[in-house]
Symmetry: C2
């Protein structure tokens, strides 16, 4: 969505007096994001992004903000939240929960090559390794419980063959046991539009507001499904190899992960098919969500069921 | 000094496995700094600076590292220390205390104009405001006790007229009561070579290893003595006005600070005259310190005694 909450400059200028970031120079709405209002904020001392949370409950926000702070502290290009003069990350602006974060350099690359995929694989492994020492825990908000509830909501809107696909996949996923898989804090939405490229390097990994505790391999699968897909939703072997090889150079996959890989690709595809179907069939009133085509992830799911891709050998 | 401790790439590559910053790509010594060995470190995931501490006692380092982390957390362009996988900032490399910090963009500007001075004034105020909520405390390592001890050491090397200047100034400073001045964490060495300019903006404020708890006004005086001096050591009125006006827009000076300003400029000049005289007359064995000319700060001290500059009105 674009900016939801209009924000007068004078209101922001006053609010910023609670921080040590200098005076407001420029305020600009950002026409992106799917559940928050975002603004570029330039002050006399730096460049920041301001987010007003429109939908996420306030109690869930500290997990995300402290995760971002934790990963930035470990040297990764993640938007570090800015503490106010009382040392708090989470504030209130125009009656909404609000946070100021560092603005990171770069632009998204929507047609990535093997080099991009290799760097994303290494970065994802870095996020997972750094996340292992993160002390807070909040379940993946798009995990099994959400999946079951959302499937129930959207099923009636689907044509018969898609209902059959959904039923089969839900039954399959219910049998997957992920207890043996390494888990931790995952980004869970590392799509191409959430990575900013500063030349050949990753200048920023953004939008942690779907993060949560889950299998690390699920995060890898979400990432591969987006970065390594062909236009029709199949996997591009060269990009897959580049991403996965770079990842496992930092964190080798376990035997359990090798077994679970095909199922995890399907679980990741199902998650985005469901959320897009819900956004499509059950739009929330008053929101200008950019509704993405659910068919893309239905097709990706079908391709992942048909194929049985393996993780590359070390 | 240049790099003191030679560091083989293979040693660093192994050491970096304790972090989540990816693989070593490039290691380059930095020919600058006066008491540490510094290196540019590029990895697959980012750009960092590595510092090996050659002289500062290990027990004093957490104050500096947590101060840098605190200020970075408040949105200021300070080199944030990187935590290793055990969440620790301070490590050991080649037997020395070692820290990895974020590399910040920009270059020093050695002939600053009024615009530069205004930005530095605002930044210094930002550092002071953010520093107010810093929980640790360590006295300024170049405070009154150091001043007295160093004066005793160097006095005998000075010609008679400089001994007289030193005696008079020490007696004057002994009468200054700074108890009424606002205090907090100060940088204490915000010279032109410790500010990196990224275009017109400050991309980095570096080298916090002289920081400590002291009067905020002392920090302002150190900064003005360097940024606003003419070639012969006098104060440039326009640059002073720019720096101090920008500073007090963020943190207005108190009445006690207005009274103390001339004495504080002298205290700041004395501090650098003494340290340079000590480096000149008492070089530490085996160190390749770039010895700066002590006469520059002797002359600055004389000019500050002769003049009685006032802080600008609000």
């Amino acid at each position: 969505m674009s900016v939801f909450t209009p924000l007068p400059e004078s209101t922001l200028a006053t609010w910023l007096r609670g921080y040590a970031v200098g005076r407001l120079v420029e305020l600009k709405g950002i026409a992106a994001g799917v559940q928050n209002s975002n603004f570029f904020v330039t002050t006399t001392l730096g460049r920041y992004v301001l987010t007003l949370f429109e939908a996420i409950p306030r109690a869930e926000l500290p997990y995300y903000l402290h995760l971002m702070a934790h990963l930035a502290r470990h040297g990764l290009p993640v938007p570090a939240p800015i503490a106010d003069r009382d040392n708090e990350y989470l504030g209130t602006l125009e009656g909404k929960p609000a946070v100021l974060v560092m603005r990171l350099p770069g632009q998204s690359v929507m047609a990535p090559g093997e080099q991009h995929c290799a760097r994303v694989g290494a970065m994802l492994a870095g996020l997972h390794l750094a996340g292992q020492s993160y002390g807070r825990r909040q379940e993946n908000p798009r995990g099994p419980a959400w999946r079951a509830a959302t499937a129930t909501e959207v099923r009636g809107f689907l044509p018969a063959e898609e209902q059959a696909l959904l039923d089969t996949e839900l039954a399959f996923q219910a049998q997957v046991d992920s207890a043996a898989l390494p888990a931790g804090a995952i980004h869970a939405d590392l799509f191409r539009d959430n990575v900013l490229w500063d030349g050949d390097h990753i200048g920023g990994v953004i939008d942690f507001y779907f993060a949560g505790h889950d299998s690390l391999l699920f995060d890898v699968a979400v990432t591969v499904n987006d970065w390594c897909a062909t236009a029709d939703g199949k996997l591009d072997a060269a990009r897959c190899a580049a991403l996965l090889t770079a990842y496992q150079a930092e964190r080798p996959f376990t035997a359990a992960e090798r077994l679970a890989w095909p199922a995890m690709l399907r679980a990741a595809a199902l998650r985005f098919w469901l959320s897009r179907a819900a956004d499509h069939h059950l739009p929330r009133e008053g929101e200008m969500v950019l509704v993405k085509n659910p068919d893309e992830y239905r097709d990706i799911l079908r391709h992942r069921i048909a194929a049985h891709p393996a993780l590359p050998e070390v």
